[in-house]
Amino acid sequence: MQPTTPPLAIRIRDLRKTYVVTEREPGVRAALRSLLRRRKKEIRAVDGISFDLAPGEIVGFLGPNGAGKTTTLKMLSGLLHPTAGDLSVLDYVPWRRDKSFLRQITLVMGQRNQLVWDIPAADSFELNRAIYRIPAADYRATVEELTELLELGPLLRKPVRNLSLGERMKCEIAAALLHRPRVVFLDEPTIGLDVTMQRRIRSFVGEYNRRFGATVLLTSHYMADVEALCRRVIVIHHGKLLFDGELADLVRSFSAHKTIVVQLQDCQADLHAYGEVVSCADGRVTLRVPKAETARVTERLLADLAVIDLTVEDPPIEEVIERVFAQEVL
């Protein structure tokens, strides 16, 4: 029996996680002193964030290293106990780690493996089938489907240690999805993979989301992943929420500039008077201008110079994100 879908897949209110770490100065004297008294320091990894995810949503979770992304994902999957705040996933309290909760979620961490190293992935799959108590028919159908989508075919029969990083990641993802989780947490699933493999995994995540209506929360350092998959992004920095909304709005609200690319007949023209010249080669000049000035500068360029071609673009998403991270608080 399919359980009824709750109105929210994930609900987070004022979530906080504080780590207490001991620290000491370098040197022998400090080391001895620390034997007697340890200096404790609190680190606020997650500092009061709130957001919701509707069932079936696929959301990019962004932030620089140490922003609190992984800590949040670990709290959502039940590995970490929040210091304060409210948290529910599919109406469960994650840290209780109810078996019925664990059967409906999955956490994929790009830098860690769960497959048994020395045996073929197919054998690890069988073990997962038993642990998650997946009915035989469902299991066969899911394996078939995942094999097709991820092109696993021959990989499943090879010992995991003989697979390349990308091949292993595909098998890891398949193993994590055998029980068809309704909520999927992906922590850097494409890290260290080549561009082709990144694209393959990216399109797979999208397809999985569409086919099974799974809710997906994804962190990635590759903006291409986020652009391809997520309409909505949540940005955190220093454990605080910086932005929650459509990717397009993020670009709009955080980029105070536009990029104008002009192709000129005269290769030698100096365009410094029109804006900041980002690059200039073979008569192709890239200008960065304040957003409010865009129309006026474009007009002047067209009037003053022999322009062959002119385009106005938003800056690349990487640049926007960099700008977002550079800002402490909005």
Binding site: L79, H81, R129, A130
Partner: protein
């Protein structure tokens, strides 16, 4: 229950498949398991000879029987979980087991039992060879053999639970190898691996009997060799049961506390 049996079967297959990849390592590991009792056996045989044929009621042949059976019982009850747990926590592997709808102890039970099954034939061969060379004397009786089987099973489960609980120290300290070292030395003496417990001073025997050590290893050996009275055997089985219940309670409590710590600091 059916689900758990299925998990055990699958885990057994997985362990088996991983194990055959490490034939050489297993062989070397087993040599260690044979060498240790062999050294004690040789030492005690020499001591017995030089003191007129016997020490504390043990002749050379008695020592041979004792250490051959000790080798098998030790092999049957051995675990490597304390060593393994530290690695799991350090490498973040525990996180994966915590995210599965299954208590991680099940994996360890099957892992452990299946590795025993795989290595048992070789250990039996080693026992036969040692028996041919050292000519042990057995004074065993039928009822003792019957009582030996449950005592061995209880010993295995007890040792497994105790060592699994000790391994949980890894939640609080990154220096579990120190815990392991201390435990190993205590077990070496107090569980009769270095010498039969009856050769130790009375106070040591009392300590070994109060603590779980004797019941984890020495007791089944003494039982099989016919060195215990029926009353002593029954007392022993009762002591094993009590310790088993106690260690189960201990394990549950410490596991919960440990996971709480783990989920507070992150893995």
């Amino acid at each position: 229950m059916k689900g758990l049996v299925e998990i055990y079967v699958q885990q057994f297959k997985t362990t088996l498949a991983s194990f055959v990849q490490y034939r050489a390592a297993i062989f070397i590991w087993m040599i260690g398991h044979v060498l240790e009792p062999l050294i004690f056996l040789v030492v005690w045989s020499v001591v017995a000879q030089s003191t007129g044929g016997s020490v504390g009621g043990f002749t050379g042949a008695d020592f041979a029987a004792y250490f051959i059976v000790m080798m098998l019982v030790n092999h049957f009850t051995y675990t490597w979980i304390i060593y393994e747990f530290e690695y799991r926590i350090r490498e973040g592997l525990l996180s994966f087991s915590l995210l599965r709808p299954l208590h991680p102890i099940h994996t360890d039970i099957v892992d452990n039992a299946s590795s025993k099954l795989i290595t048992l034939p070789m250990m039996l061969v080693a026992a036969v060879i040692l028996a041919v060379v050292f000519r042990p004397a057995f004074h065993t009786v039928p009822w003792a053999i019957a009582a030996f089987i449950p005592s061995l099973l209880l010993a295995f489960i007890l040792r497994f639970l105790i060592e699994w609980t000790l391994a949980l120290a890894a939640f609080w300290t990154t220096r579990v190898s120190a815990v392991n070292q201390g435990y190993y030395v205590a077990a070496l003496f107090l569980s009769g691996q270095v010498a039969p417990l009856s050769l130790f001073p009375h106070i040591i025997q009392v300590v070994a009997a109060i603590l779980p050590f004797r019941w984890m290893i020495a007791f089944p050996v003494e039982l099989l060799l016919g060195r215990l009275t029926p009353a002593q055997a029954l007392t022993g089985l009762a002591a094993q049961t009590v310790w088993l219940a106690a260690s189960l309670i201990l394990l549950r409590g410490i596991w919960r506390a440990g996971v709480k710590v783990y989920s507070a600091v992150g893995g």
